[in-house]
């Protein structure tokens, strides 16, 4: 395994040793040396050369190849969350770049292994993906490429409707079937008066009322389901092979989700370690300029955009610095003057320890929420921008760190995508599927939503509804298999609406 040149193998040895001394804890790392075309190909498959066939990988490949051919961009490194951790090096890269990439990869690999959000990812994904590929190819042979591919397209169109927290929830093994006896509340009475105060007729009437109420509660699903893919897998009228394909795609969606949840941290951590290892150990004098060129290219910012590499590494460095000084906790937080907070130093020396802890338990949302301080936002020149109707351009709106943080969190929460749940699978008692969009101030893109709903309908088989809002006004988008309707649904006690509100409470948003 691995096909490094002796020189690269020696460097790998050196990087591995360094990583160990710094306390990075990784799976074994295997580097594969590939040329640009192979790299583009592997990258197009999301890092898994034996993935199932699908046109979108071809699309990705075309984009990568073209932008490489036209000299617009090239991939430097590609690393797979797997045990052993597989990483690809581009053969044509210079030695300085290879060193940097190796060090960078060790950062990622440590992150994959230790960050809590990756704890439930499949570490034998290389094999699993190849297995998925074989299964899907078999279905294609049996049922036809077009048929299977169309089904995949449909599922991919909703593969963001998963519950990223579900791998962490321990569920009750058995659902209560609700057949246990009902305790009928009695009016309080002394024993000898009970017969008069709670006469049998009254108790009987109460019992009836409660049973009716319970029958009304027999809504399905009981709790709104966030994992729409799972729900369809369990309850949609699918054929065997379709169930299998859906399960495969769902598994892959869950595998990739943590990488989306930790983009800033993961890249920040990798940059932190490549810069530490490179600057302190690996760079020779004649390589300094090359290294700086590449490093600054990685960390460059553009107006109107956040560079996750930059934001991530700066946050880690800031945390390290603060914990080294002891600039945390009540005493520090109570300092009102920003200069005092900057100068505060009790020599705690806890920086390294803290960042290792942070990389273990945080994700981008909690990372940004907890560690962006007023001083950090100021030093990093962060700002919020918005569209100015009057001038017709995007303008800087504010530099207040709370606003910056709120905006960042908004875009990171649920990957910056709308939350959509199944609230009723037997809507109108006709087996229609009722989805509910947890509207948070921003409308859906309605044209897209229509096409997507169409895909859901194709899976569900019966009419499907999506309750959402347009500029705050409730709307119901319906596709019955033939045509769409888009209705205003103010005021009426739609079942979806009531459940929707319950879900709002549950979601805590």
């Amino acid at each position: 395994m691995g096909n490094l040149t002796p020189e690269l193998a020696r460097i790998h040895e050196e990087v591995r040793e360094l990583a160990r001394t710094y306390g990075l804890d990784t799976f074994d790392v295997i580097f594969e040396l590939v040329d640009f075309d192979e790299l583009n190909m592997i990258a197009a498959y999301g890092g898994f050369p034996k993935r199932y066939p699908h046109w979108r990988f071809g699309m990705e490949y075309e984009q990568l190849s073209k932008s490489y051919a036209y000299g617009l961009s090239k991939i430097y490194e590609l690393v797979i969350n797997n045990d052993p951790c597989i990483a690809y090096l581009m053969r044509s890269n210079g030695l300085t770049d290879q060193k940097l990439v190796m060090a960078h990869v060790y950062g990622h690999c440590d992150f994959f292994k230790n960050n809590a959000w990756f704890a439930h990812t499949n570490r034998k994904m290389m094999d699993a993906m190849a297995n998925h590929g074989t299964r899907i190819r078999n279905y294609m042979d049996r049922y036809g490429v077009e048929v299977v591919e169309d089904f995949i397209d449909r599922v991919l169109s909703i593969d963001n409707l998963i519950d990223i927290h579900s791998p962490y929830i321990r569920r009750e093994s058995k659902e209560e079937d609700g057949s246990e006896d009902l305790e009928i509340p009695r009016l309080r009475a002394k024993d000898y008066m009970d017969r008069y105060i709670n006469p049998p007729e009254y108790l009987e009437a109460e019992r009836k009322k409660m049973e009716e109420a319970r029958a009304g509660n027999l809504r399905f699903p009981k709790e709104p389901a966030r994992d729409v893919l799972r729900f369809l897998l369990d309850h949609a009228p699918l054929e065997r092979w379709q169930q299998d394909v859906l399960a495969i795609l769902r598994e892959e969606a869950y595998y990739f989700a943590p990488q989306g949840m930790t983009k800033i941290m993961n890249e920040g951590w990798a940059v932190y370690w490549h810069s530490t290892m490179m600057c302190r150990h690996l760079v020779r004098a004649d390589e300094v300029v090359d290294y700086c060129d590449h490093h600054s290219g990685t960390l460059g910012t553009r107006p109107g955009q956040i560079n996750p590499y930059k934001l991530g590494v700066e946050l880690f460095r800031d945390i390290e610095d603060r914990w080294n000084r002891g600039a945390f906790g009540l005493e520090w937080a109570r300092l009102e003057d920003s200069e005092d907070r900057r100068r505060y130093d009790v020599g705690a020396g806890l920086g390294r320890e803290k960042i290792f802890e942070v990389r273990k338990v945080y994700n981008d949302v909690t990372f940004v929420d907890e560690f962006i301080t007023p001083e950090f936002a100021e030093d990093q020149k962060l700002y919020v921008y918005g569209f100015n109707q009057r001038t017709g351009r995007y303008e800087i709106v504010d530099r207040d760190y709370r606003k910056v943080k709120a905006q960042l969190l908004w875009s990171l929460t649920n990957f910056g995508q709308p939350r959509i749940l199944v609230v009723d699978a037997n809507h109108n008692n006709r087996g229609e599927l009722y989805l509910w969009h947890d509207w948070n101030g921003v409308d859906l893109q309605f044209r897209m939503a229509e096409s997507t709903l169409k895909n859901v309908q194709a899976l569900w088989g019966r009419p499907v509804h999506l309750e959402t809002r347009e500029e705050g006004e409730p709307r119901l988008l319906t596709f019955d298999g033939k045509s769409f309707s888009f209705l205003e649904i103010g005021g009426s006690r739609e079942p979806g609406e009531t459940v929707g509100q319950a879900a709002e409470g549950e979601g805590g948003t």
Partner: protein
């Protein structure tokens, strides 16, 4: 062996071309690759298919950026800065700069644009020529020794008279090869683009932005085809003015719309500055399709037919869709001049339509 990716790639191309899976055709859009030229970022078109998903519409909230600037300063660059976090794997991509020539080449390749034949006399000039051809006859002084010996070697090997132990090669007269001059022709032609745009109230910010992007690509392509390219800008509402580039893209007037005013000015400009004998002339007019009156539209057609078209390589009319535009002008032009191949009209419904429209304009190779 066929690589897996080639199968997937072919499939993707076929979907884009509309050969298979026609249900996906409507999700094909022109994506972009961002290249950097100097300080500016340019986007390079590339087809992509986006499967529908539940997504947010335009986020009016804006995003978070990093850098200098005061409250109220414009943020250039990408507008959807903090869009959604991708789930792309740990990939690490660097961007590189592209030259203008390369951009033109990329565009030409992407859209399969024909090279332009300059009109009129083939105004070609020889650039001295270079020694890059080989001929079988020629003067001794131009004999190409290497090629001659190579030919002789080939002949001896095939005749079986070549002995590797004793490699003697003797050319005979038929083996002789001679260098030859290849004349390099370079177009000596000049070209001028005359952009005209309706800046009356109905052309909004977005419409102008579309025109700006479109003009950038037209410039880039034509510049790669002609040695010397001039650009003129005319804005008009009810009256037309010759303006500079900056004004052209930012001016906003509120008056009515009289397209003929621009055509008149364009005609005068050609008469005064750009003799059709020396210049390849490309007038482009952009508006949302509204005109003052049908009488004025008739006047426009007359102007085009009698004055402008005889002088130009091609006249392009791009109709940018706006909330107010009726789109009538394109219909009028098509009705009156639809069969004249010097006239190209094109609808630009939105940004995604820019590419198709560039192809409309440049696809004829005129």
């Amino acid at each position: 062996m066929v690589r897996r990716i080639d199968t997937d790639h072919t499939r993707f191309r076929e979907i884009v071309r509309g050969r298979i899976k026609k249900n996906l055709k409507k999700f094909v859009s022109s994506g972009e690759m961002i290249g950097k030229r100097g300080d500016r970022y340019v986007s390079i078109p590339i087809p992509q298919i986006q499967l529908p998903k539940f997504r947010f519409g335009k986020n009016p909230k804006g995003g978070v950026g990093q850098g200098e600037g005061e409250k109220g300063d414009a943020v250039d660059g990408q507008e959807n800065g903090s869009g959604e976090a991708g789930d792309a794997e740990g990939r690490h991509v660097l961007e590189v700069e592209v030259g203008l020539d390369e951009l033109a080449e990329i565009l030409g390749e992407e859209l399969e644009l024909p090279r332009i034949e300059p009109k009129g006399r083939k105004i070609l000039s020889s650039l001295g020529g270079r020694w890059k051809g080989i001929r079988n006859v020629g003067p001794q002084s131009l004999k190409h020794f290497k090629r001659t010996f190579r030919q002789a070697l080939k002949r001896q090997i095939s005749a079986g008279t070549y002995d590797p132990e004793n490699p003697v090669i003797i050319p005979i007269p038929e083996d002789r090869k001679f260098k030859s001059r290849k004349e390099e022709m370079i177009p000596q032609a000049n070209a001028v683009i005359i952009y005209m745009m309706d800046v009356s109230g109905s052309m909004g910010k977005e419409q102008k932005e579309i025109v700006r992007i479109e003009a950038f690509w037209l410039d880039t392509w034509l510049r790669s085809q002609y040695r010397n390219l001039e650009v003129e800008y005319i804005v008009h509402d009810a009256v037309a003015h010759l303006v500079d580039r900056e004004t052209f893209f930012h001016l906003r007037e509120s008056g009515g719309t009289k397209i003929s005013s621009a055509f008149e000015l364009c005609d005068r400009l050609i008469e005064q500055k750009y003799s059709p004998l020396e210049w390849n002339i490309y007038p482009f007019h952009f508006s949302d399709g509204d005109n003052w009156s049908s009488r004025d539209s008739e006047k426009c057609v007359r102007l085009l037919k009698e004055r402008i078209l005889p002088c130009v390589n091609q006249f392009g009319y791009g109709q940018v869709k706006s909330a107010y535009g009726s789109g009538q002008f394109k219909k009028d032009l098509d009705a009156a001049l639809g069969d004249d191949e010097r006239v190209v009209t094109s609808d630009i419904p939105d940004r995604d339509g820019i590419l198709a429209s560039i192809k409309d304009f440049l696809g004829k190779g005129r």
